[in-house]
């Protein structure tokens, strides 16, 4: 029919009549005024504490500053990318173990997945940073941050993969069975490719979590964006401005990744399975 699709948040309020429209206009102007005042107060606070002084901001006009930040960002990117790749492989392995018919494998996988989903990545990072050296293993700082981040993400990814596998219509594997395919062939040639397509948007949005986790790299003294920002701060004594700028960079990067995953989801017509959707533990 001629139905135009309305989102829930627009449908909650029906088309306003004249009185309602007037009220909405009044409240809108009021809200705008309050927001403007809020922004003004914040800017004023920056001003009276001297944070708007040019000496805190001119460093951003120098290319050396941005070059150094870019280096740091490259470090972030390296960690995130590597950790993401490892987490994908590990997550896949764990998922396969979890859904296997062998009870022992399924239980062990489940324990490992729940363990990695149930502890903070920061704790895992401390394990690699404080505990592993005590056993004589010398690990470069890159791996000290990348491995724990990968492990933490692998637990979540394993569940995302599993949700994807469950989302593939049973008819697919039934049809393959009736063609005489073996179980492993069915999994790898029929089910998994489709599951992958379904969960790609979710995988991409998990990347955001990985990027966020990288910000603890300073704990292991690995030069990522945060770490390089700190160096610049000690050089230029521009703490407030630098921390805000770096925060904005992270927000934009993560926002872009999320938007990309939404775009992927729309193209496929699937929805994004996030950590919040699946069953807890």
């Amino acid at each position: 029919m001629s139905a135009h699709v309305v989102s829930m948040r627009d449908a909650l309020y029906e088309a306003p009549g004249p009185k309602m429209r007037r009220r909405i206009r009044v409240v809108t102007i009021f809200a705008l005024a309050l927001i403007a005042i809020g922004i003004a107060l914040v800017v004023r606070q920056f001003h009276i504490t001297g944070q708007l002084d040019p000496r805190y901001w001119t460093l951003f006009t120098r290319t050396t500053t941005w070059a150094f930040l870019a280096q740091g960002f490259l470090g972030t990117f390296r960690v995130a990318f590597t950790a993401g790749a490892i987490a994908l492989v590990l997550g896949l392995v764990l998922m396969l173990g979890r859904i296997s018919e062998a009870a022992w494998l399924s239980t062990v996988s489940r324990l490992v997945i729940d363990f990695f989903r149930g502890v903070p990545s920061l704790l895992l990072i401390y394990f690699f940073y404080l505990v592993i050296p005590k056993y004589g293993i010398k690990m470069p700082s890159f791996w000290m941050i990348t491995l724990p981040v990968a492990l933490a993400a692998s637990g979540v990814l394993a569940e995302v993969f599993r949700a994807g596998v469950n989302a593939v219509p049973k008819g697919q594997s039934e049809a393959a069975l009736s063609l005489g395919m073996s179980d492993s062939k069915i999994m790898f040639k029929i089910v998994f490719p489709q599951a992958l397509r379904i969960v790609i948007p979710s995988l991409v949005s998990q990347l955001v979590v990985v990027v966020k986790d990288t910000t603890v790299a300073y704990v292991v003294s690995y030069p990522d964006l945060m770490q390089n920002a700190r160096v610049l701060i000690s050089n230029y004594d521009a703490l407030v401005s630098m921390y805000f700028v770096v925060a904005i960079i992270y927000i934009i990067v993560n926002f872009a990744i999320n938007q990309f995953s939404i775009y992927l989801a729309h193209r496929r017509g699937t929805k994004i399975i996030s950590r919040n959707d699946e069953n807890p533990v």
């Binding site: 449908a11 944070q51 401390y126 945060m226």
Partner: protein, 219 residues
């Protein structure tokens, strides 16, 4: 140091750390829910500036890394005239981030209701207030139980951020540092903290699942 030894030496500290972690989780989560309620009301209202404000809040605080926000609150805000106690600063960080995800969960809950039921309620003659009370809110809340359970676990894990500031007593993650700076903790120290987190996660997940099974709406 074996686990036995660790327990006898640091047992009390670990207990305090566990309580510290639990209390931070509970307080942050509750505050986050209240903030999320306000944000969601903004995002759903017919007033455009409020919608934009709510959406902006969510985008900023779901995309900012916890550490980045933490350093701003603990180290940058004092320069702007606001100095917060370490524990409060850490909790504010956790709260603000969790609130954005909580609002997303509420929005998802609202979206699962579907426009049709709202129209049906309107056609019966129910007022907007009644529609909210009898149709929207009960369903949104019941649909949000599972995502909120996962978010509570997420909050628990996010409190580990507090290990980056000097907290007395330290919470579970900070304990690994604490023990390692005083003795050779080895795997044991890490393990006890890990069990603290994993165990709590399991219990939260179990209870959440139970509640969800009871109140879940069949569609």
């Amino acid at each position: 140091m074996g686990i036995q030894e660790l327990f006898s030496t640091y047992g009390e500290n670990y207990l305090q750390a566990l309580v510290q972690t639990w209390s931070m989780t509970a307080i942050s989560f509750s505050c986050a829910l209240v903030i999320a309620l306000a944000i969601t009301v903004f995002r759903v209202s017919p007033i455009k500036p409020l919608r934009i404000l709510g959406d902006f809040y969510v985008q900023v605080f779901r995309n900012i890394p916890g550490v980045s926000l933490l350093v701003i609150i603990i180290y940058a805000l004092p320069y702007l005239g606001l100095t917060l106690d370490y524990k409060i600063g850490a909790m504010v960080t956790v709260t603000m981030v969790v609130a954005s995800f909580a609002s997303e969960n509420l929005m998802t809950g609202i979206n699962t209701i579907g426009v049709g039921q709202i129209e049906a309620a309107r056609s019966v003659g129910l007022s907007f207030g009644r529609i909210l009370r009898h149709v929207v809110i009960p369903q949104a809340v019941r649909s949000a139980i599972l995502p909120m359970t996962n978010l509570l676990i997420g909050t628990l894990l996010t409190t580990a951020l507090a290990s980056q500031v000097p907290l007395k007593p330290p919470e579970l993650t900070g304990m690994v540092n604490y023990v390692n700076s005083r003795s050779v903790g080895g795997i044991g120290a890490f393990f006890i903290s890990a069990i603290g987190y994993a165990g709590t996660s399991l219990v939260i997940g179990y209870v959440g699942n139970l509640i969800d099974k009871k109140v879940r709406i069949l569609r």
